[in-house]
Amino acid sequence: MKSKEILTAIIIAVLAASLLLPSALMVFGSPQNDGMDSYMIDNGQDIAAVNNIVTGVVFDFRGFDTLGEALVLFTAVLGVTLMFRRMKEDEEYEYE
């Protein structure tokens, strides 16, 4: 193997390790800013009366985001419907 290839491999390895370093240094389960999630965990069962906090966040605290998700699905179906529609008799394909 050429020395250039070895050097490239070493640089890539060092870059990947430096990118992965922050995730290795973080302690799992204790984030620095936990105001929002501890609020949801502490008050989700009182406010939304829901046991599954994830569903509580998705459909109550972040309901607007879920509306966007549903609209994305609707738009996807719209696109498929347009792509697979039945052509008219005299309609021709146009490639631009």
Partner: protein, 156 residues
């Protein structure tokens, strides 16, 4: 293009069970992992199994393009209406106006681990059902349109 008798029999037997499992995930969305999107995808898998196993001509008599389109639009409409009713009641958009109300889905939940009450969580089960209906319609419609291109397909 029917598939073999084994595939057709298996699809016939499995279809109700897949549907029931999907609706179970949708209805228990506020108690167990899952919800409208996931349960709707599972239930749509049952329709996809039927569409793949049987000839499109046979399926055309059972499900039409328009019924799937209306199902999808109805689900999205129910979801948005549930959100807008909160504004009509004088609160904010997407406010959980049924939670802790004592009427339908109105029971309160104790803090901490508990076995779960199906009759709780306010508008969240309604929204789960609405999204589930929408996902079933959307997935079924996508697969039906993609199958309509093959030989002897389900032309609209």
């Amino acid at each position: 293009m029917n598939m073999s008798r084994i595939v057709r029999s298996t699809a016939n037997i499995l279809f109700p069970f897949i549907l029931v499992f999907g609706f179970y995930i949708i209805v228990h969305g506020h108690l167990t992992p899952g919800g409208g999107f996931q349960g709707g995808a599972v239930a749509a898998t049952g329709f996809v199994l039927l569409l793949v196993a049987f000839s499109p001509d046979i399926i055309r008599d059972k499900f039409s393009f328009n019924s799937m389109k209306y199902t999808e639009a109805l689900g999205l409409l129910l979801f948005i209406i549930t959100a807008f009713v909160a504004i009509a009641l004088g609160t904010t958009f997407f406010f959980n106006w049924l939670a802790n109300g004592g009427i339908i889905f109105g029971e309160s939940v104790a803090f901490g681990a508990n076995p779960g009450i199906l009759n709780s969580a306010g508008t969240i089960p309604l929204m789960n059902v609405a999204v589930g209906i929408e996902v079933i319609g959307a997935m079924g419609l996508i697969i039906m349109y993609m199958l309509s291109g093959i030989e002897g397909g389900n032309k609209e």
